[in-house]
């Protein structure tokens, strides 16, 4: 089954004097994880997203649309990127999700992808 790992992170940790170095380490962590997934023969894809400040949200309310500056959810954590991995079970997906580098506060939502034709 395919699972999407939605990475929600506190962006502010990458600001300030230590921020750039921390970001470098986090990216290295992602590279290492991608390497591991490849070694295990697991099909995956993923992207890093630009900061929440660049987001625009279109809201729907029974046919009426309105544009908003910023991300959808008003939380301390922003959706910062995602993976889609193809593994056998939720348990495996959770094991991989636990390996993602989150230096500060964050949360990863793990969701099965609705299979085509089901």
């Amino acid at each position: 089954m395919q699972y999407m790992l939605l990475i929600n992170e506190d962006e502010s940790i990458y600001e300030g004097e230590n921020g750039a170095k921390l970001m470098e380490e986090t990216l290295a962590g992602h590279m290492a994880l991608a390497q591991k997934l490849t070694e295990k023969g697991i099909e995956f894809s993923g992207e890093r997203l630009k900061p929440g400040a660049t987001a625009t949200t279109i809201k729907w309310d029974h046919g009426k649309q309105s544009l908003h500056d910023g991300p959808f959810a008003e939380t301390h954590e922003e959706l910062g990127g995602f993976y889609i991995i193809d593994v056998a079970s939720l348990d495996e997906a959770l094991d991989w999700a636990k390996m993602l580098p989150i230096p500060g506060r964050g949360a990863i939502e793990v969701r099965p992808v609705w299979p085509m034709g089901e």
Binding site: M1, S89, L90, D91, A93, R111, P112
Partner: protein, 404 residues
Amino acid sequence: MNEASGLAAAIARARPRVVAALAAHLRDLDAAEDAFAEATAACLALKASPDNPPAWLLTVAKRKAIDAIRRKQAEIRAVDAAAMVNDMAEIIQLPEPIPDERLRLIFICCHPALAVEARAALAMKVICGLPVRAIAKVFVTSEATMFQRITRAKAKIHGAGVDFELPPRKAWNERLGAVLLTLELAYTVAYQDAGADLDPELSGEVARLSQMVAELLPGEAEALGLAALVALVRSREAARVDGDGAMVPLSKQDTSLWDETLIERARAWLDDAAKFGRTGPYQLMASIQLTHARRAFDGNTDWETILVLYDALLTVRPMPTVWLNRAVALANVEGVKAALEEIEKLPAGQLSSARPFHAARADLLARAGDRAGAISALDAALKLDPPRAERLYLERKRFDLDRS
């Protein structure tokens, strides 16, 4: 016992093993439960009981499940239909011994990805086959809510692709914590109201599940500890309520009514657990109860040991209820005055229920000779809607104080 009720009991005993084997085979809890229910109905309809009910049930349930899958797929060709002709009466060859998949099923029902409040309920439903109505009663909620909770948990297992394999050993600790916690939750609920309004079958099932976990995981000290704890509390079931239906506090219980076999079993579990040298809250709680149980053999309660155990428990579980029980032990070691001082420091609002606080305080005040104080503490406890057995006990106590 007549044959019909004997067979029903045999089916209930077989259930955990058979449903677990079915779930592992079918990888679907609903399908496993449905197939077992169908097999049970077929078994009860037989003219003569099968020699080996578990094996018979498993064989028939597997066939029923295959039928159900075929029906669902709507691909019943004439050949298959002919093969499906009901041949259950002629089952000659039974399968090899039923594989023990119970642990696997427990780990699935208590998967950490499921809502905490759903895990124990799901285990009781799937493994023990308790009706949703009874489970709702245990968790003090409506049948509709409980039904929804269990349905959601099953839908999550199915929809999110929870693994039906036994998790790797390294994942057991996390899972075991969830299993023990759910069992503790169920146990607390099943025993908290002094057995007055509860179906004894329910506390029996909690005990059965905790014993099963201990037997399946003999290397886990805390699993043994929890099983011992449940067995010890259960050993007093006959003594907890008197002829009028009033609660009998532990110190006043007639020890000849205690079940010595259960006490012995608990002691053996705790001895086994101690060999691992890894203590934990369940072992400590069980040790406290075992110390109380010794009164059945020598007539004495070793309060000093109990106090030391509560001190240890407080370091791993700094909860207001533990603090309260420690104060009660302290009263028997250093005296009522010291205990009252301790108890007054405890903010009653932090207790999940303030009733035990008022009841304990009433007892200590009465022992200290403060009759008026004791009566007002009893009134405070009685205002908090105690279950029947406890209410009768508190009312009687209040009556005695009023008269003295």
